[in-house]
Every structure is written in C-alpha cells, then in structure tokens.
C-alpha cells in the first residue's frame, strides 16, 4: 500500500506492506536511532513521536502514519545535543543503546509535565524506558539539572 507522511518535518511517500511495523519502516528509512530491544513493548528503546506524542514504534503499524507526522531523534538533534551535555557530564550515557528512546520521552515530558513536577511524576512518565547500565539514579541527577535549566523545579516526594 501507499502512504504519505511527514518524517522529521519532511513530506515523503512510500510503498509498504500492510503488515510492516513502524520500527522496521523507520530503520529502513535511515532512522537508526530507533532501536529494537524487546518486541513486547516493554523496553522503550523504539520510542518515537507520532503527531508529537510518544509511541512505541514496535507496536505501531507503518500504515498508521499515513497523513501523520513522525518524529525521531534524527529530527531533534539540537534538542538532543542540549540534553546530552547534562547526561554526559554525569556519565549517564553508558552503553547508549537506550539513550535515544529515553531522550525522546524526556523531550516530550518537558512539554507535558507541570513547572513543578515531583520525582514520582517523572519516574512514572519515564517508567517505560528501561536502562540496564545506570540503575536510573544518575538519570534523576541529570533531569533535575536539565529541568531547572528549562525553568522547572523538581519537587521532592
């Protein structure tokens, strides 16, 4: 089938099999930041935005992006670089494999959470992003500093 969509702001069209998953479609189209970690929607590695909302691309049919806007980390390089400074200074990137999906969700969290999010709200928002290297503790240090720079003060529980 034929689909028309916006990928990282650019209008494109493609001929696809109806059963193709968005994850495979995006990697076939050069979006290598999108990773597969589990096939069971449990790890968050394949997080992308569909119309600015985070979705797990392993569980979305490519056909569903017809007429829609898809954003991957390739389309958010300036925002990713800004966040990367905070993450790198804590050594929190580690193996990096979960980073793109995590960053995608962090960037959408910044837009969606209030100006005074609690630690519990942050953990809940990002709960679907697994990481096996860091134990998540450094993530919170990173997020406190990053959110402060964005005018958001993390409240203790």
């Amino acid at each position: 089938m034929k689909i028309e969509y916006w990928l990282n702001g650019r209008k494109e069209q493609a001929e696809i099999d109806a059963g193709l998953m968005l994850l495979d479609f995006l990697r076939d189209h050069g979006c290598y930041s999108v990773k597969c970690g589990c096939e069971t929607t449990a790890c968050g590695l394949c997080t992308v935005w569909l119309n600015e909302k985070p979705v797990l691309s392993c569980a979305v049919l490519a056909a569903r992006i017809d007429g829609q806007h898809v954003t991957t980390l390739e389309g958010l390089q300036d925002e990713a670089k800004e966040f990367a400074q905070y993450m790198a200074s804590e050594g929190s990137d580690q193996c990096g494999y979960c980073n793109p999906g995590f960053v995608m969700n962090v960037l959408s969290m910044v837009r969606e959470l209030s100006d005074t999010p609690t630690e519990a709200e942050i953990k809940e928002y990002l709960a679907g992003n697994l990481c096996r290297c860091t134990g998540y503790v450094s993530h919170m240090r990173v997020l406190r500093r990053y959110l402060a720079a964005k005018g958001k003060e993390v409240q203790d529980a």
Partner: protein, 762 residues
C-alpha cells in the same frame, strides 16, 4: 593529578545520546542475508531428519544449513584465554539436542519475511528423549547430557562427561573438621540462586562478510574480539589468519558478550554462500539461548568461638552449567575464593565444588562471575551467625574482616596490598543511618522497617593469565593515538584509558584519540572481562607511555643535535635540554616524524599481573515489609567502594549504581521459571522483570579509596564487585523485618507471605 581522578565526559557520549548509527546493526550493509535459527522445542532429543524441501522453495531463501553442513570438531564458545578451562563440547549444529532452544537449522534469505516463512515450513523429525532438568540430580544420572566420545577437555578440571560432571575440585586448608569439632557455635545452611539474565539493552548481533582477500570479517557486539577470532576459526576449521573481528560500539554486555553466543552462525552462512550475512537475536533468544549466571546451590558451614572469632568456613558449591560447559569450570572457583577471604582470620577453610551438566540453558559469565553466588551464601551465613551468637553483625565483622597487609590463604596466598574495607563498612553505616534503622521498627502504617548489611570483594583481572596491551603513536602536530584491544561496552574504558595516557604524557585528554578494536590492527588484549580493563590495560597504557617518552626524547636529541636523550626533560608540551633550555615542542616532534625520519614515534607494551588485587565494598539496605501481603519495598541503599584510586569519579559512580540495581533486581524481581518440559517461561521483559526506574529508591554511593601499588596510579577494578552486596544485604533486612530467613533468590512477596504464614503456624 590533572587527568586521573577527574570526571571526564565519555569520548563517545554525544554520538550515543544523540542516536548516531554506531552499533553493529546500524552498520550492517543492506545486502546482508538475514540469518535466523530454527530451534528445538524439546529439552533433549535426537534430530532424526530435517525436511527442508518446501522451505527451500520460498522465494528469497539462499540456504538452509543443518548438522550435515557444519564442521564436526567440538569447540567452546567461552571467551577465555587458550587453552580454555571449559571443555570443548559444542558443535555449531548438532544432531543431539541438549536444551530447549538448541539450534536445529540455520535459515538465510534476502529478508526477514522470507526467512520467517521458511522457518515455519521446515519439518523436523525428533526422537524425543527424557531430559535431565534438575541439576541436583545430575551427577551419575542415567541420563547423560554429553554421551559423545569426542568430548574434549583442553585442561584437566576434574570433569567426566559420562557422569555429567563438567568440573570438580576439593581444597582443605588447615584442620577443617577438627576446628569445626572445637567451635562453640556452628551455622550450617544451604543457599540457592537462579540463572539470572544480564539483559543488556542491545541483543546479541553480528554481521559477517568476506573481504577482498577472501578473509572472513566479523563485526560483532562482543567483549572478546580476539577470543572470537580464535573461537570462530576453530569452529569453522579454518586458519586463524583467515578471520578478522571488529567491535563497534556495544550496547552493554555485563559478561553476556564474554561468550561467542552467536557469531558462528552468520559466519557459517558467509563461508557457505560467500555472501554477507547478518543475525540479530530477538529478546526471547537473548533471554533463552544465551549465557546467564549459573544457578547455584551452596552449602555453607561456619564455625566460631562464642566471643565471635570466625574460626573455620566451609563452602561447598553445586553449579548448574546447563547444556554446555561455557564458563562453568572458571565461574565456580570464585564462589569460594572470592567470599572466604573476606573473613581472613580463620584457622581453616574448605572449598569443594562440582559443576554439572543438565538439559537447561548453558550458563556463562555475568558480572560477579560466581563471586555473586558465593557471597550471597557466605554473607547470609555470617548474618545468621551474628544472630546465633547474639553479637551484632557490625561487631562480628569488625572482629574478623581482612585488613591491608594480610596474607589471604583462601585467595591464593596473595597479600592485600590495598584494603580499606573497614572504612567502607563504617561509612556505609553512617550513610544508611544504621543506628536508627537496625534492626527493625514498626511504622505507623503497619509495615516493618528493617536494615541489613553485607560485604564483598572481587578481583582485578585474572592473575598470571590475562594479557593487555596498548600502542601509542605520535601524529601530526603531536596528537596521540591510543590503540587498545580492550572493549568499551559502555563502561567508558576508551575514555578511562585515555585519561591514564594523558596523565602519563602530561597532555589534555582530548589530545589522546582512542581506537579499538580490530583484531588485524589492535594490540592483543584478552578482552574486557574479569574486572581487568582499568587495572590491567590501564597498566599497559602507563608502561607504553613511559616507553614512548624515551623514544620521543631520542628523536628530540637527534633534532637538537649534540645532546643525549638522558639530558632531556619531558614536560608534556615539549622536550627540553636541562643544561641549555633549548627545546623541541611536541608539535615539532610530531611533524618531524613525518619527514626524513628513521625513529618510529610509537610504542607498544604488554602487561600481565601475577596478582589480582581485590576491590572491597560494603552495602546496606533498608526495607519496608508489609506483614499482610509480604510486599517488600526497598527504601534506601548505601554502598561504599574501595576500588583503589578512582580514575573517573562520574563513571565509577554510575558503574556502582548500575551494578547495585542489577543486584537489587536479582534479589527482588528477576525470577527464572522453567516449565516441566524445560521451557523457560521467563522469556521476555514482561516475565523476567528487570528493575524499572519506579522500583529504584535513592542509592547512595561513595568511595573509600586505597592505593594499589600494582595498578595504574593506584587503581583497582570496580565493574563487577558492585553487584555482590544487594542479595545478602536485602535478605538480611527482610529477615530482620520478618524473623524468617530467606535463603533463595529472588525473595518475592509470595515467598515472604508464605514464610510469615509458616512461622505463625509453628
């Protein structure tokens, strides 16, 4: 120090965080054949025949390989120095199936869709056999997992395949039985840990191709490029000169990728077809046909005087190797050697072990490598001893722990040249507010808050075995390239080793470019495992810098004329004639090396160590237990680590936090469940529950550095030790809360509930 002990950013941080294509799967050429395996649903069977006629007709299928197509010489996929202690007991494809998931056929085709279709169309005729699933029944069981006559131990490790024994040994030091007979108090218990999964975020993957010289090139997510070269060459029966292994960025390993779990499969396809081949394991494959921690049953006995002197420790370990021997003979030795020496004032110790075959997933290397299981058992037993003696667990430990300068009989008679364990313990107690939280109190909400602690040790590289090397070159304008064979798998060793080089060469870290690993060009390194990289490769880097500085002086002397190298001083930016003050800058030196030159401005040094200095640590947990439901909430965890000099405090801290949370997962949520036919039910992240960020409390990590004289700038290791304390510390906290001992991991709410119920009924 300007570069060492600094929180330098990882050199690869920006590309990783911004999602650049740097991993094996991102680099695999588009024209690779896609390779998948057809796997046995039976735990034990003989493959009578494979009918692939229909499957071969699927458009796009290139080949379907079965046991007939694979070489017939046995090998091991354990990533260890040759000759490996793990017996050669594998074939790439074997007619004898030994566990659920053993491969029957490899299918290669132009895309995943056609391969999936072909996999469904292959008809296998199995002669299903009764499996041996309980490793406790393995020794001398009529079911023999490896009946073959070509089972091949390269090194005698006490194994006997006809008896299902992979490795076995007994060691007594001092009068063990006499000391037990003479002890006032004895604790005697059996502890059980399961086949925990590393669960690194990047599944196993590799692609293979033939280069213009017809050589096999393997690009793999591996911790052990040089071992993979040897293993694949051995498996395919081709000369090692025909194999080249390249490691790009790795999405985590934790020991899983210290085994060549799957490189042989695409390699065989490429050798047969001459075409590029790519294989990516699913998460299910990564959890069920990989290389988890060994399941262990450990019998611990400790004898003590009534005053609390630990006089004798006995550790008897039974180790479930699963279907193949990978890492069994080596991991099991750590169960005793890296637990007993924590209590170094014993008069005697015993360490007996047996590693056995069973028809379950073959176990491998996972962070902690056997020490984790041993320390869960010994530390739990020491906590039980404290209760039995009526001495608090801190006092008991202060009376008995190892100190700097001690000779450690249970650790190959090595001397603890650097040891700050007592400081680790005391600071941990402060961080966890031990006085307030130990032993227990009832909270207003009815939950019981309690605390527990544990100690740990590990090693730094394998003494007298591991080899590390570094090559450093001076380039244009005097920048350096550092070539290593050690593999950065996210731990940051490319950066840490550059920090060590920058310290020695007195230059900014940015002027040292790190490159690794390509087995054709990188200097030899055993690989990144056994907590070896900072300690051993770090020392190789340090030595290389010293040699390089001498060469740079030699070249500078030639340039200055009329002066000897020994009269020159190296300042980092320049080389200066002490007498006259005349100098050659590093920039001039680098550029001069590229015109009319016959002094190679590069150096390579190799290093091994006759000792493996243990890092030490203490960890303590505070938990809330709901007596109504058995639910355990981890409220607080604190740990203090003595890893010698901390080369990079930010990276070391994250290593510690990450290792602790893996240990917490192993203790509370990561359960391995097998059905009656040997199928793993915990085959995805839905069933095998690694911690999410909502499961993790605040974790406090500090360092209590010692100075290790045999390490680079005093450093020891940190990567593995950090997983070892949560098991026994949390188990003790839960015991304090409930009055029930939990001697099996994980400790789930169900087990606590049942334990409390049984206690009530007593």
């Amino acid at each position: 120090m300007k570069s060492v002990n600094q929180a330098v950013m990882k050199k690869d941080a920006l590309p990783l965080i911004t999602g650049k294509p740097v991993y094996t799967g991102d680099l695999a050429p588009k024209d690779c054949l896609i390779v998948k395996a057809l796997r046995s649903p039976h735990a034990r069977a003989i493959v009578r025949s494979v009918n692939k006629t229909a499957a071969l007709k699927v458009p796009g299928i290139e080949c379907i390989l079965t046991a007939e197509d694979a070489p017939k010489k046995r090998f091991t996929i354990a990533g260890q120095t040759y000759p490996e202690l793990s017996p050669y007991d594998r074939l790439i494809l074997d007619k004898q199936i030994r566990f659920v998931g053993d491969p029957v056929a490899l299918v290669a085709g132009k895309d995943a869709a056609c391969v999936d279709k072909a996999l469904r169309m292959i008809k296998v005729d199995y002669e299903v056999q009764e499996p041996l699933l309980d490793f406790r029944q393995a020794v001398d069981n009529p079911i023999v997992v490896h009946p073959e006559d070509d089972w091949n131990p390269m090194v005698p490790v006490g194994g006997d395949n006809k008896r299902n024994i992979i490795a076995q040994d007994k060691e007594d030091w001092g009068d063990v039985d006499g000391t037990f007979a003479d002890s006032d108090v004895i604790v005697d218990h059996v502890y059980h840990t399961k086949q925990a999964q590393q669960s690194m975020m990047e599944p196993f993957q590799a692609f293979t191709e033939l280069d213009p010289y017809g050589r096999l090139v393997i690009v793999s997510s591996t911790q052990i490029p040089f071992h993979v070269r040897r293993i694949v060459a051995t498996a395919l029966e081709i000369p090692k000169s025909r194999v080249r292994v390249i490691k790009p960025r790795i999405g985590g390993g934790f020991g899983a990728k210290q085994t060549a779990v799957m490189e042989c499969y695409p390699a065989l396809v490429t050798m047969v077809t001459g075409k590029r081949a790519y294989m990516l394991y699913t998460r299910e494959e990564s959890q069920t046909v990989s290389s988890p921690r060994h399941e262990a049953e450990i019998h611990v006995r400790i004898g003590a005087s009534k005053e609390g002197h630990i006089r004798v420790i006995s550790v008897e370990a039974l180790w479930n190797g699963g279907a193949y021997s990978d890492h069994s003979p080596t991991t099991v030795t750590l169960a005793g050697h890296k637990s007993i020496p924590v209590y170094n004032h014993t008069e005697a110790f015993r360490f007996n072990y047996t590693a056995v075959y069973s028809n379950t997933i073959a176990a491998g290397a996972y962070r902690g490598y056997g020490a984790t299981q041993g320390l869960f058992a010994v530390e739990s037993a020491v906590n039980e001893l404290a209760e039995k003696l009526g001495i608090d667990p801190v006092t008991l430990r202060l009376k008995n722990i190892v100190h700097e300068g001690d000779v450690m009989p249970a650790y190959f008679n090595e001397t603890a040249r650097s040891c700050n364990l007592e400081a680790c313990l005391m600071r941990t107690l402060e961080l966890i507010d031990w006085k307030h939280n130990y032993p227990r109190r009832v909270l207003p909400n009815g939950k019981i808050r309690a605390a527990g602690l544990a100690l740990a040790m590990q090693g730094s590289a394998i003494s007298n075995v591991d080899v590390a090397s570094a090559t450093i070159k001076v380039n244009d304008d005097g920048f350096y390239t550092l070539d290593i064979g050690a593999t950065d798998m996210g731990t940051g060793c490319d950066t840490i080793l550059a920090q060590i080089a920058a310290e020695a060469l007195e230059c900014p870290v940015d002027e040292v470019v790190t490159h690794g690993v390509d087995t054709d060009t990188s200097p030899y390194d055993s690989g990144s495992y056994a907590s070896s990289t900072t300690y051993l490769t770090g020392m190789a880097v340090y030595k290389t810098c010293q040699t390089l500085i001498e060469k740079m002086k030699e070249k500078a002397a030639r340039m200055l004329g009329d002066v000897k190298a020994e009269d020159l001083d190296f300042t980092g930016d320049a080389i200066i004639d002490r007498a006259t003050g005349r100098q050659v800058t590093r920039k001039e030196l680098g550029n001069a090396a590229m015109i009319t030159n016959d002094i190679a401005l590069e150096a390579t040094e190799t290093h091994f160590s006759p000792v493996s200095p243990p890092p030490y640590m203490a960890g303590a947990a505070v938990v809330d237990v709901d007596p109504g439901t058995g639910e355990i909430t981890l409220v607080d965890y604190a740990a203090v680590v003595d890893c010698g000099t901390v080369i990079n405090p930010a990276l070391a801290r994250v290593q510690a936090e990450g290792g602790l949370v893996q240990g917490i997962g192993m203790t509370l949520t990561e359960d391995v469940i097998m059905d009656k036919r040997g199928r793993l039910q915990t085959n995805s992240f839905m069933q095998y529950r690694i911690p999410t960020r909502q499961d993790v409390c605040d974790i406090k990590v500090e360092f209590a550095p010692s100075y290790e004289p045999t390490g680079p700038y005093g450093a020891k290791s940190i990567g593995e030790i950090v997983i070892n304390t949560p098991g026994p510390a949390i188990a003790e906290a839960v015991h304090q809360a409930t009055g029930v001992y939990f001697r099996e991991l994980p400790i789930t709410a169900e087990k606590v509930y049942k334990g409390l119920k049984a206690k009530k009924e007593e």
